[in-house]
């Protein structure tokens, strides 16, 4: 065996192991994040965290009950705005879409998807906070809702397109009108996919902080109704992490663990829904 061919073998082995190493680093990063948060957040997590209001600086204890409820309200509002628009626009693209207009909608959706979240925050600020003259849960929910739209549109379209042609033809042959076919055959057939899409959209906006900074703002107390500023988990993590107090840092870890846990569980659940015998097979 001459020098050149053994050199090539060495290069081959070295580069191939390097690519493996790269994959390992990326995977290890997730486990590091998870492990570190469980380690630090686990210590700070207690029943109080879920049931109490934040304490003033210097007083030990307290929790983030208002932020948890605030996040839930924001997400509910976001889903009410983002999911119906996303779903129906997705149905249009998959079932009715013409040429030019559908292309335009798809293109705009991708554009909206790429808009930095902080810019969405400014948008919500100009259309809700400025006219109302104060921060509110409503403004935060609208910001998050706008962020959900593009994810919901594209995944709804994708999953509806996976429904086999034979199913549609069957429904049509039985004399169903187009919308009856969509409502009673196509959408039910793709419901697992649509559910997955909704969960993924929810998980994506659940951790968003930037659009909430100047829409939902923050609140150290409960925020009744929809017209007042509200605390939310991501914003609390941000404020507590950059503050110089040690017990706030502990709370930030706990909040981080709760938020990451929820986001990752939602992601895993979304995939589980999809993999448990999706009616439709990928073409």
């Amino acid at each position: 065996m001459n020098f050149r061919s053994s050199w090539r073998k060495i290069v081959n082995a070295a580069m191939l192991s390097l690519t493996g190493l790269c994959a390992l680093v990326a995977v290890a990063a997730l486990f590091f994040i998870l492990g570190y948060l469980v380690w630090h957040g686990g210590k700070a997590l207690s029943w109080d965290f879920f049931t109490r209001l934040p304490k003033p600086v210097g007083e030990a204890g307290g929790g983030m009950a208002n932020a948890i409820v605030g996040s839930a309200k924001l997400l509910l509002l976001a889903s009410l705005i983002g999911l119906p628009i996303g779903f129906l626009a997705g149905v249009y693209l998959a079932e009715f879409g013409g040429r030019t207009f559908a292309f335009l909608v798809r293109y705009t959706t991708d554009l909206l998807n790429g808009v930095p979240s902080i810019v969405i925050g400014i948008f919500a600020y100009t259309i809700v906070v400025l006219p109302m003259r104060h921060f509110s849960t409503l403004a935060g929910g609208i910001a998050l809702g706008v962020m959900m739209i593009p994810i919901a549109v594209r995944s709804t379209e994708e999953f509806l397109r996976l429904v086999p042609r034979s199913l549609r033809e069957g429904a049509m042959a039985l004399g169903a009108s187009r919308w009856k076919m969509i409502a009673t055959v196509v959408v039910p057939a793709a419901y697992r996919g649509i559910l997955t899409a909704a969960l993924l959209a929810l998980a994506r906006v659940a951790g968003e902080t930037a659009p909430l900074l100047f829409t939902a703002f923050g609140n150290r107390f409960w925020s009744p109704g929809w017209g007042q500023p509200t605390a939310s988990l991501p914003v609390m993590i941000f404020t507590y992490a950059v503050a110089p107090y040690e017990d706030w840092h502990q709370q930030a870890w706990a909040a981080g663990l709760v938020l990451l846990g929820l986001v990752l569980l939602t992601n895993v659940a979304a995939r589980a829904v999809l993999s448990r015998g999706m009616f439709v097979h990928r073409s």
């Binding site: 594209r154 951790g207 968003e208």
Partner: protein, 327 residues
């Protein structure tokens, strides 16, 4: 009133009221119209977004003109606003992120698409998709308490001792700064590079590999000289996508970049990015001009990411030829 477009739509085929009534009763036209309205609302919302940014930044656009992007002064008290330090900070951290993330992501994508057995590959891809789902603020939280001390106490002294002759690695070491921002961003965009590149590599036809292998190329030579060049445009697309992501990334960068509007050659120095200054100063912006200047920054960020995303999608489309985008 909602019936008007329908009548127009079928005018060509003879406009008969009874036929129209029948179509309406079957519900198809109504369903079409309702979904069309919602699809149109996506366009409406996006246009409104651009309009709001444009109108609300008018004060700053008229006062500073193009000089806004070339001025280094950011002084809210005397109402002098220049975007240069923020543009600089955004570009430096983003390119630093790509410098780390592109080799790492491409390597991992090659491993997942070309080498790993399908079972392992799909398991690892799932983990990497989860990594992409980790919220930005969590990355920031971890970086503040792990990466920043690590940089300050070990990495930066080491870099200064070994590469200190370069202006990049001089000056006081704070831990927070361009380097910290760039590294956090790198970790955040790696999953995007991996998942898009992997898909693009998987789309390379098998005969491309078989031909190289038949000529006696090793596995690595096949990958590097026959597969990767074939997927070149798509990989470049994934890089642009990651760049667009990095430019707009807010929270993690805000937490570690140091928040100081200065232009410094040293990567150790604290800086500022466009997204970070908006996040930090928007709620305390007192004057109308101050607010308009921040909104103009957002407008610039929007246009930049818009261009990059468009370019990225075009490139990915060119390689995979599958039509719609890959998210």
């Amino acid at each position: 009133m909602a019936t008007a477009p329908i009548a127009v739509g079928h005018a060509g085929r003879g406009w008969r009221p009874r036929a129209l009534l029948r179509r309406l009763r079957s519900g198809d036209e109504i369903a079409h119209l309702v979904t069309l309205l919602f699809a149109g609302s996506v366009i409406l919302i996006t246009s409104l977004l651009v309009y709001e940014l444009w109108v609300n930044s008018a004060l700053s656009r008229h006062k500073f003109g193009w000089a806004f992007f070339g001025t280094r002064v950011w002084d809210p008290i005397f109402e002098q606003f220049g975007a240069l330090p923020f543009i600089y900070g955004t570009l430096v951290t983003s390119f630093l992120a790509l410098l780390v993330a592109v080799p790492l992501g491409l390597g991992a994508a090659i491993f997942l698409a070309e080498l790993a057995p399908p079972r392992v590959s799909s398991a690892l891809t799932f983990v990497i998709e989860l990594l992409a789902a980790v919220p930005s603020v969590i990355y920031g939280l971890l970086a503040v308490f792990t990466l920043v001390p690590l940089l300050r106490e070990h990495v930066e002294p080491f870099l200064r001792a070994t590469l200190g002759f370069l202006p990049l690695f001089q000056g006081p070491m704070y831990g927070v700064g361009f380097l910290a921002g760039g590294l956090v961003l790198a970790l955040m965009v790696v999953p995007f590079i991996i998942s898009v590149s992997r898909e693009v590599l998987l789309a390379v036809p098998g005969h491309q590999r078989e031909a190289a292998l038949a000529l006696g190329a090793t596995r690595w030579e096949t990958t590097w000289k026959a597969v990767v060049p074939y997927a070149r445009a798509g990989i470049l697309g994934s890089v642009f996508l990651a760049l667009a992501r990095a430019l707009g990334e807010t929270m993690a960068v805000t937490m570690v970049i140091g928040n100081n509007p200065q232009i410094s050659a040293s990567l150790f120095a604290p800086g500022y990015s466009i997204a970070a200054v908006i996040a930090n100063e928007f709620t305390e912006a007192t004057g109308d001009l101050y607010l308009a200047a921040l909104i103009e920054l957002a407008l610039a960020l929007f246009l930049l990411t818009f261009l990059l995303n468009g370019l990225a999608r075009l490139l990915i489309l060119l390689t995979t030829q599958r039509g719609t985008s890959h998210e």
